[in-house]
Structure formats: C-alpha cells, structure tokens
Amino acid sequence: MTNPLRYLDTPLRRVNAVVVTAALAFALVYPFLVPPPMIGVGFVALLYALRNFTWNIAGGYVGQLSLSHIVAFGTGAFSVAVLTWRHEVNAWIALVVGVLISAVVGFLISLLMSRFGVNAFFLALGTLALSLAAAGVAASWTFLGDTNGISYSGTEEGFAHLQWYVDPSGFYYTTLGFLVVITIGIAALMRFTHFGRSLPFIREDPVIAASMGIRVVRNQALAMALSMGLTSIAGTLIAQYVQIVSYESVLTVEIGVAMMVGSIIGGAGTLAGPIVAGIGIAVLEEFLRSFAVSSANVSSYTQIAYAVVVILLLRFGTGGIMPLWEAGVRAVFGTGRKPPAVPEQEQRVGELVDGRVG
Amino acid sequence: MTTLEVRGLTVKRGRSEVLHQVDLVVREGECVCLVGSNGAGKTSLIEGVLGLLPAKATTLSFLGRSLLGVRPWDRVRRGLVVVPQNRDLFSGMTVEENLRLGAVAVGDRVAADAVLEEIYELFPRLAERAAQLAGTLSGGERSMLAIGRGLMSRPKMLVFDEPSLGLAPLVVTSIMRTIAEINERGTTVLLVEQNVHQAFALASRAYVLENGVIAGEGPTGELADSELMRRGYLGSAATGGVVKA
C-alpha cells in the first residue's frame, strides 16, 4: 500500500473518513466536556461497542452465530475477580489469562461444532446450551462465588492496576484505547492477511472456500478463538468498574443475545456497525433513565427496543445501520469510482445470516 | 381454444435473467413439446409459468384467465399441473397416500376413488406397490407415481418436466407411451424434454429453447428436418436469427 490517501477514492470513503476522524476527536475530548457520571456512561457505551465488535469477528465476518461469547465475557470478569480480587494477581495478568482461556474455549467449541458437522441452528442452540450450563455451574460453585458472586477487594489504583476509584476517565480511555487498537488491528487483519480475507468466503459458502484451498475448519476455529478471546477483555473491564461479579451479572443469556443483536442492528458484516449500535444502545438507556424510568424497567425497555428493532430490520430486509448509512451517503454523494469489492461491506443482513456453518 | 398462452415471458433466477421474451401457445388437446439442452431455461420456463420464479409477461393466461398475481397453488387448482423434474414425491408416505394427495386440494370436484382406479389401471405397477413407501420406489416407478399424482386432480393441462431424466431407455419408452395415451384420452400436454427424439415422436408441435430464448418453433415434422436440428443442436450460443419452419 503506497499512499494511504489513495484509499479515499469514493465519496463514501471520504465521508466515512471525515466522520471517523471527527468521532475519534470527539471521543478523545469527551471526558473533558461532561460531568463524571456521564464519563461513566461513555465508558459503558464504549464497552458495549467493544463487545459487540468482538462478537462480530466470529458472528458477522465468519457467520458463526454464536451464543457462547457470554462465556468469554464471564471468563474475563471472573478471571479478574478470582485472580486479582482474591489472590492479588495483577489485573493485567488476569486480563491476559481471561483472554487465553476464552480463546482456547472458543477454539475448541468451533472445532467441536465443525467436527460434528453442526449447522447454524444447532450452533446457536448448542452454544446457548453451553452458556446456560456455564451459568448454572457458576451459580452453584463457591469458587465462583455461587449465587452471591465475588466482591471487589483491593486498594491499588492506576493504569498499571486497571482500576480507578473516583474518576472513570481511566476506564474510559483504556476502553477507548482497546476499541481503537482492536478495530484497526482487525481491519488490517481482514484486509491484509490471507486468514482475514478468507473469512467472508467461509461465511458465504464453506464448500467453495474449501475448494479454493482455504482451511475452513482451522480458520473458523481461529476466528472464534480471536473473537472470544477479545470479548473477554470487555468482561475484565466491566468487572473492575462495577467491582462485583456474579453469574447473574456476567453470564446471562441477555448479554449474549445483546452482543449478537447489537451487531446485527449495526450491520453485522461491517466494521463500524457493532460499534455504532453499542453506543446507540447506551445512549438509549441513558435517555430512558433521564425520564426517571425505574432502573429495572430501563433494562426491560431497552431489551424490548433491541428486539423490536432487530426484528423489524430482519423483516424488512435492510442491512442494519451501516448499510443504511452507506446507501444514504451513496444516494446523496453518488458512488464515485467503483470501490474494490470488499464483500463484508456490501452484505445485507438477510444475505449475511445466510452463511452456513460447517 | 387456447389452453395456455404465454407472450413476452421474462424470468429471473436471483439476479440473472434466464428467460427472455418467450412466446408460447398450447391449444386444447394438443401435445406440444419444448426442447432445449441443459441450461437452456426449460425448467425456468415451467417455474415461471407456475409462479415459483419471479416472472414478467405481456400475457400469461390459462384457459382464458390471467395467471399474473395468482399464487402457484391456485394456478395448480385451476388445472395447470406440473410433473416436476425432481418428482417431489412425499417420500415418507405410501404410493396410495401420494396419489390421494394429488386430489386433496380439489377433493370436492373430483371423486378421488374413481380416479385412483383409473391411475392403477394405467400404472399396474403402482397398484402392486400401493402400500409401499414412495421413497423406496425405483426411478421408473417414481416417475410413474409423479405422473399418476398429477393426473389425480383431472388437470386441464399436464406439463412434464423431463420425464425421461435418469431413466433406462426401456423405461423411457414406456413412460413416453403413457404420456401419449394420456394425451389421446383428452388431456392437453406440454412436454419439456432434453431428449429430442422422444419428444418429437410424441408431439405435434415443438418449440426450441436456446439460452433463454425461443430459437425455433413449428410442426415437429418440419422442424426435425430444419437447419436448426441438422446442426446437431448442441445448444451453443452460435445461433443467428430465429429459425421458423
């Protein structure tokens, strides 16, 4: 790749570049513009964005509609709870441990599913069953705090310990950092590595992909490992922030479904889609809270809203927020030169979720 | 009296257009055939006429009534019955259940028992295997069952989609003879076939489909001797204009 600016050859890309730069700039100064509670909201928004994005690696790019990512999320949370809060291991080490465990689990799940030739429905069903099993185990296992969970204990603060007690800015910027690095990393992976470029082919038609010489089973498993491993990071971050972890807070099916649904609403094959959707939901939640809706009902209403939106989206065949955005920009600015075919960005959700597994 | 009238039929499969401006007419009592090689668009034509594929046409009418906008099953109920290439039998059900299902949608019009007897008379092999599961039948028997099922509703027109496909030559001859008999007994027939010899032997008129357009049409006798057929009809796109016999 020579001149990066040559990438900006269509109106869509130019508009996107402008928007992304503006958004990033805004994100960087946001904590200075708002009171501390809103910084916390910003952190949560970025967290939702992060975990949607990491789900999407396996779910959107490869088409593995997994409901097991919640296990990764929970692993990240419990990892820091057990290792750092109980045994005073450094939080970053705990984070890495969580990532590794989740990656291995993800790898194994995908491998197992492929080995047994499971199709998409059984993948969803099986991963759902696994997540429920994991939650059940956590609820009964005192090592994981059974029904009460594990509470925070510790005194250190600062980036080295991944903990800030009063000012959420630390969490905010750390999460933003993770989000930016992971997004850029994945984008580069998808564009420049053979592995990354193979994923949309696997999603579209595993048989043809195999005949092209792509190692389908291995790549699916690697993608799942990557996806789940990175999801674990979000779990670690939220655990440190909330300072209590239990099966009810980090191993629920609702969160697992929210990751999937959020990505689909945003546009499952796209880079920005899951991020936009994640932030959007956080904003919606905050909006509802501002109307003095009781907090129990806030989560109910957002869940219902999520569900209604994704149902309508799938029913009426639009691809999600990002494809709509792209269509809108193209309508306003024209298509310019024909962009190189990047399959994942052209996909409509209906065709996207068409991808079969195994 | 025109049974099926098609003018300007264009059919799409996904995003590609597989049939372009096709005109076709079948009159009452006729036996008309449509020939073409693999990929010419024969099945697409049938699916377009039946409404299983999105189709646009200037005219698409059956027995004088337009089919446009009519649901596929309602087209079938009007008497336009297709014996599909895949046979599409109810494999887990018996031969007799398959046959009876052929009349289930028009049950009030047709006395199923009486028709069943006729079918068994036409296909003694089916009578023998009445209680056998359709999935366990041989290729020829499956073809027979599919035809028998189609006949159960006393169709106004029977469309055969490659009845000879995958069958041994002797069986093919037998099936073709049966189709001829069905036509003689009064059912209008549209036979869609790759096997030109068999089709021409049966039909009085023929259409030739090539790459989604009608490349030739006319009485089978004349068409058989034509330039089109003499070329060996390999189905390539080398054709010039339409050859009318």
Binding site: V118, V261 | W73, L101
Partner: protein, 302 residues
C-alpha cells in the same frame, strides 16, 4: 424407596407436560423447518394469560386456558404472517434471530407487566391430592399430566387421521410436492405455527398451578422443548412424547443426586453433547432440510 417412587411419579407427570410443550415445537420444526426460539415464551403467554384472567373455580380455569390458548395461537399466527413468512422466503437464518429476539421481547414485556416474580394460582381442580402406596400427587400435577396425554393423543389423531393432517404431513414431506398438488402451503404454515403456539399456551395454563411463573421461565422452557424435540421425535410424534417423559424423569430423579442449578447445568451440558452426537431420525432429516429453499424465493412462504 418411596422417595424414588414419589419422584418418579412426579417426573413422569411433569414429563407428559414437557411432551405437550415439545409437540408444538415438533410440529413447527418438521412441517416448516422453523426453529422457534420463542416457543417457551408462548408457554409463558399461556401462564400469564391464565394468571391475568384470575379464574376462580374449575370451569373458569378451563375457560381461561381456552382463552389463553386462543390468544397464543393468534399471536403465533400474526408472528408467522407478518414477521417470519417473508424471512423464510429469503432463506438464511433470519428466523433464528427473529424468534430469539421475539422471545426476549415477550420476556421483558411480562417483566414490565408483572414485576412480581413467582406468581401462581391455587389449585383450581375440584379434587385434592391423590395418595397411594406412599406416593402423593397433587391435583394440578395429576390433571396436567393426564390432560397433556389427552391433548397429545388428539394432536396425533389430527395429524394422522384427518384430511388436514394429511395435508400438513404432505407439506412436511415435500414443500414443492405440496405446491404441485395445489395445497395452499402458506395457509398451512400459518395454521401449523398457530397450532404449535396454541398448544404451548395450553401447556402453560396447565403448568401454572404447579409451577410459579416468572418471565425468565420462558428461556428454560424453550430449551426443554428443544431437548424434547432433538432427543425424541424420530419421525413420529411418539418419540417426542417419550423424550418428554424421559426429561421429566431425569429431572426429578436427578435432583436426588445433584441439587440446585448444578443439576440444570448438567442437563444443558448433556443437551450440548446430544446436539453434537445427534441421534438418527428426525434430527438428521430435519438438519438436512434446514437449508434455505432457494427455489421458492417468490412464493412468499419459504
């Protein structure tokens, strides 16, 4: 020993109820190839429906169940007609996400409407518990098991001995074939889905006096319905019944050895293994057929 007998009896009766729940899902699964992730939530509709009607007495209770079942069937019809139908035509797995999201929407709707967890109704039946040979069965449990069995028999009669049942079976065997014989497959799909949901709602009504209702129950019931369908149903309804009873027994007897959520976790874990291994019969056939039907994109039915 009487504990085992007690548990076995309870498990058997509970299992029959699971069979009823499973039958509805099975019908939808085999006929339409739809995996209704919201099925357990239709049971919930039945439970909350009867709860809201607050029947006092046996006949009002039955009436409430009928009303709730009709409501469930109507919702099912609407879901199929307006949400799922066009998605089926496109193929793919939109119905997976749609039904999953629908379930969640239903769950949280009930969460908002009925914030109190664990609501139930007192015994509506005109008799009290049965006791014999050291085993005591409460009236609602007895009735639920018996009525479930009756309903399964009725469904079996419908599917195997009536004209409409033959039509339904035809659609499940070959959708194309059904169209080629003039069956209005769209209507059959809507009917089947409504029937499946209605049966689920009835099961919910029967379940209410036995098990207190909470919105979260929907997911658990959905999973149990799937367990019943995947393990059982080797081509016939009765496999589903057997699987339901098996599940009920396993659950009841399992509680002897593994208390609390660990037992449920074990069940889910086993289910995961079953999905991997997948016994022959229905599951293999259905799995082979759970591919988008690309030849029928414009029929509007899938």
């Amino acid at each position: 020993m009487s504990t085992v007998l007690q548990l076995a009896s309870t498990g058997l009766l509970q299992g029959l109820l699971y069979s009823l729940i499973g039958i509805g899902l099975y019908l939808v699964f085999t006929v339409m190839r739809v995996v209704n992730f919201a099925h357990g939530y239709f049971v919930l509709i039945g439970m909350y429906g009867v709860l809201s009607l607050g029947p006092k007495g046996f006949l009002p209770f039955l009436g409430a169940i009928v009303v709730a079942a009709a409501g469930g069937a109507l919702v099912g019809y609407l879901v199929q007609r307006f949400l799922l139908e066009s998605g089926l035509a496109k193929g793919g797995h939109s119905q997976l996400v749609i039904t999953l999201s629908l379930g969640i929407a239903i769950q949280y709707l009930f969460q908002v409407l009925h914030p109190e967890p664990f609501e139930t109704i007192p015994n509506p039946y005109p008799f009290e518990a049965f006791t014999s040979s050291g085993v005591t069965i409460s009236a609602p449990r007895m009735a639920a098991g018996a009525l479930s069995l009756v309903l399964v028999l009725l469904v079996s009669f419908l599917v195997y001995r009536t004209r409409i049942g033959t039509i339904i079976r035809g659609c499940s065997e070959s959708l194309n074939g059904a169209i080629h014989v003039g069956i209005n497959v769209r209507r059959v799909y809507r009917l089947t889905f409504a029937l499946g949901c209605g049966l689920a709602a009835i099961a919910g009504g029967l379940l209410l006096p036995i098990q207190p209702v909470s919105p979260a129950l929907g997911l658990e019931l959905t999973i149990k319905a799937f367990i019943v369908v995947v393990i059982g149903g080797a081509g016939s309804l009765w496999g589903t019944v057997a699987a339901g009873v098996l599940l009920g027994l396993a659950e009841a007897l399992g509680s002897l050895y593994a208390p609390g959520t660990f037992a449920t976790a074990l069940v889910y874990g086993l289910f995961f293994l079953v999905i991997l291994v997948r016994p022959q019969g229905l599951v293999v056939r259905a799995a082979a057929r759970i591919t988008p039907r690309k030849s029928l994109t414009k029929v509007g039915v899938g």
